[in-house]
């Protein structure tokens, strides 16, 4: 019985961690190429509403996920056009993209408020996960497995492949990369698109898997947590995974505490815990994490060509 409860808590934890992990992983790749896209929250909302709309209309969750990914890419391409194509300021444009995403998702989602869909189910048939411990391995939906596979893939891509090396080089010193002959803007656009795709997918995880019902501003600031996680993880995919699951644990604690009816902690304080945890962890990182190594890509947020 206790095993079943523990497993169930972990399942909730993984589900809470997955959308943040996806969005943060996309942002990590974007930032490694030297682009600071603060519009993660906006791109997630675009993905969430596009995914919900398509799934609601067609009844197909896979189609919804595809639409969400494309919507995320589309939002990222607006950002790329402005910052990389026209040289606008990345911070300001990223904030604008978030505001745009909030507005666009409200507008498109207005007709869907309160509607429900059949949520994304577990990937494997139920009899694989009959035993609670097996459920831990086989009970998740496809996106959870995909997100874990992507962590491994991105990690290998950045460390082991020539393309990953070039992407990091563009984020480290865009002028040198250009001098050697790499197409800085094309590489940065591709990295931004990848970030948009994962943010869109992460957003859709909210509307198609976590709460299969449309509500305004469904992602509730998780895009900002994803941004903070990238810094927390020192731009390393493995640490990003740990950070996302840590955050998932805090969010799950909040839910469990509410469900258990702990009255000695005000519900408002409980609702703050995920965000408080983020601030505490970031502070501890910057106090204790000075190893002399340089974590952030040296050209992060700097325009190319420099004007």
């Amino acid at each position: 019985m206790t095993a079943a409860i523990l497993v169930s808590i972990f399942m909730t934890l993984a589900a809470a961690a997955t959308p943040i992990l996806l969005a943060a992983l996309g942002e990590l790749v974007t930032e490694k190429a030297g682009v600071l896209n603060l519009g993660v929250e906006g791109m997630m909302l675009c993905g969430a509403v596009a995914g919900f709309a398509v799934t609601y209309s067609t009844g197909s969750v896979p189609l919804g996920l595809l639409a969400a990914t494309l919507a995320g890419v589309a939002a990222a391409m607006i950002f790329a056009l402005l910052t990389l194509g026209l040289g606008s300021n990345q911070v300001a444009t990223g904030l604008a993209l978030t505001i745009f995403g909030i507005g666009a998702s409200s507008l498109i989602g207005a007709g869907f408020v309160g509607r429900t869909i059949t949520r994304l189910g577990p990937l494997f048939p139920a009899d694989y996960a009959a035993h609670p411990w097996l459920r831990l391995v086989f009970g998740h939906d496809a996106i959870v497995y995909l997100s874990l596979a992507l962590v491994l893939a991105v990690s290998l891509f950045l460390r082991r492949t020539k393309a990953g090396l070039i992407l990091r080089a563009v984020g480290e010193n865009a002028d040198s990369a250009h001098a050697i002959g790499y197409r800085v803007l094309a590489i940065r656009t591709a990295a931004t698109a990848f970030g948009g795709a994962l943010a869109g997918l992460g957003g859709a995880y909210f509307s198609l898997a976590l709460t299969p019902m449309w509500a305004d501003r469904l992602t509730a600031g998780r895009g900002w947590i994803a941004l903070a996680l990238v810094v927390f993880a020192a731009w390393k995919p493995g640490r990003l995974l740990a950070g996302a699951y840590l955050f998932g644990a805090v969010a799950t604690f909040e839910l469990q505490a509410k469900a258990a009816g702990w009255s000695f902690i005000a519900p408002e304080v409980l609702a703050m815990t995920p965000y408080l945890a983020t601030i505490v962890v970031l502070t501890m990182m910057s106090l204790g994490g000075r190893t002399g190594g340089r974590d952030a890509p040296a050209c992060l947020g700097k325009p190319f060509p420099a004007s």
């Binding site: 090396l165 990091r168 080089a169 480290e172 010193n173 050697i180 002959g181 002399g292 340089r294």
Partner: protein, 518 residues
């Protein structure tokens, strides 16, 4: 039908009437030159003469407005550096195109067009490092390396590609004489194997020793071509600057004044993991004297400069004394105010803020000595006047005090920074590589300004790897080796080879051993 006589192979590289303009500047006008296969060809000219633009056109970084480029007899369009490398053109840049946060190995891999497995690449790099006796650890991150070591990465990166034409932009500016000689042997060997070399340098005696042909540029035009082996350096320098070269004027009386800067048993741990610890450094620099500190890069020069400038504080106040006052625990601003000025080795980002204008960069270091911001408010007039004076006196090629420091070429920024410090008439001036990247005419002007400053009673410490310069400038010379400083010896009577061996020969081996351990 008569076959044209095959007396000569086609030129490896031929430029015909190449011109390139930027807004407001004609960087290259009607330039023609040709480089034979296996020839080492010098490209000579002052800062701003258009050499860098020309080689950027050859390497595909920039496009010519007019003119024709042929490679191995065929007309070519070089649209990008990648296209250049495909033709077989390699280039070692003056400003290294390196990625600080990455390892040597990753940096080299980035410069290759084909994908090579890391282990195989490492083996190939090791082979090149061994055959040219270059000590360098492939696994170290670039930001921990000295300027000299960084340059080796660029050279190895090019050699890996087995180029047909190698462009070297000021390759020897930070090497010791022994290292230069070794580099020249390498370059001669490369040339013997049939690769042409386009060699850009301000050091005329190097060009005389190495090159078989020279094209001299002035103000964007070719003013002469010559054979440097038969030409005098004096004449080449005059062709280059278009005027007669001034000799260093030294004051006749060589009296030694009181000690102005005294360092006593200065110890300082190096920054982990690769910093050099300073061990018991003692020296003094007297009024009216220029003290030279020679040594191979990475032997504690950077740490010594940081300790003297006040960026790293000494353990005790009396370890460093300025005119008898202990300043070992004073920070950099307090030391400047007290009269100790420093010029660090790294121009952009350390000696100057690249994104600030020249006028703003003046305020940053000169406000302690000059009334530029007496009550906290910047006085625009005096600031711009001072910046303008520096620009005029040291012939800095720029649009004016409002130009961004980062927009100046390396040599021009160097002239500006040297001028900014010398103009404040500090009591003690500590300089690393005073003429780095500066051409012959301007270097002579900087050296003259240093000698004049000393003649007015200041003490000057010059930390450099350029022994010729140290011997010309210094009254006394010491050598820094693995964080220890030798006693100072009067320069009169010292032999170049003697010092070179002291700084390079013995140290080279132990340095290699260190790299192997790391």
């Amino acid at each position: 039908m008569t076959q044209p006589p095959d007396q000569t192979a086609p030129s490896r590289l031929a430029l015909a009437h190449v011109s390139k303009s930027f807004p407001g500047v004609k960087a290259n006008q009607d330039i023609s030159l040709s480089v034979r296969p296996g020839e080492i060809h010098a490209l000579l000219g002052e800062n701003g003469a258009g050499k860098s633009t020309l080689v950027k056109i050859i390497y595909g970084v920039q496009r010519a407005d007019e003119g024709q480029i042929s490679f191995d007899g065929r007309p070519v369009e070089i649209a990008s550096p990648k296209a250049a490398r495909k033709l077989g053109i390699g280039m070692v840049f003056q400003h290294f195109s390196l990625f600080d946060g990455m390892t040597v190995l990753e940096n080299i891999a980035l410069g290759l067009d084909e994908s090579v497995p890391a282990e195989e690449l490492k083996a190939r790099i090791k082979a090149i490092l061994d055959s040219y006796s270059l000590p360098l650890d492939p696994d170290r991150e670039v930001h921990t390396l000295s300027v000299g070591e960084r340059q080796r990465i660029e050279i190895v990166r090019c050699l890996l590609q087995k180029p047909k034409l190698l462009i070297m932009d000021e390759p020897t500016s930070v090497l010791t004489p022994q290292e230069v000689e070794r580099l020249f042997e390498t370059l001669r060997q490369i040339a013997r194997e049939g690769c042409s070399i386009l060699y850009i340098s301000h050091k005329l005696h190097e060009i005389k020793a190495l090159c078989e042909a020279a094209t001299i540029l002035r103000a964007g035009r070719v003013v002469a071509t010559c054979d440097p082996r038969t030409e005098t350096t004096q004449h080449m320098a005059e062709l280059m600057i278009g005027a007669e070269l001034k000799h260093l004027q030294r004051p006749t009386s060589s009296k030694q004044g009181a000690a102005r800067l005294s360092v006593e048993r200065l110890d300082m741990p190096g920054e982990p993991p690769f910093g050099t610890s300073l061990k018991g450094i003692s020296f003094s620099a007297h009024a009216g004297e220029i003290l030279g500190i020679a040594g191979v890069a990475g032997n504690g020069q950077a740490e010594l400069l940081l300790a003297l400038s006040g960026e790293h504080l000494a353990g005790r106040a009396d370890a460093i004394q300025l005119d008898g006052r202990p300043i070992g625990l004073a920070d950099a601003g307090a030391r400047r105010a007290a009269g100790l000025a420093c010029v660090p080795e790294e121009r952009n980002g350390h000696a100057a803020v690249p994104d600030f204008s020249l006028a703003e960069n003046v305020v940053l270091t000169a406000r302690h000595r000059l009334p530029l911001a007496p009550s906290g408010l910047i006085r625009q007039g005096p600031v711009e006047r001072y910046a303008g004076e520096v620009i005029a006196r040291f012939d800095v090629r720029t649009t004016g005090p409002a130009a961004l420091a980062g927009s100046l070429s390396g040599g021009n920024l160097q002239k500006f920074i040297m001028g900014r410090e010398i103009g404040q008439r500090p009591d003690v001036l500590v300089v690393a590589q005073p003429t780095w990247g500066v051409d012959a005419g301007a270097a002579a002007a900087i050296r003259q300004a240093l000698v004049d400053l000393a003649a007015q009673g200041s003490a000057i410490v010059v930390i450099s790897q350029d022994l010729d310069e140290l011997l010309e400038l210094s009254d006394r010379l010491c050598v820094i080796n693995e964080g220890r400083l030798s006693p100072a010896r009067p320069v009169a009577g010292l032999k170049l080879e003697e010092i070179g061996l002291l700084m390079g020969g013995v140290h080279g081996e132990s340095h290699q051993a260190e790299s192997a351990h790391a």
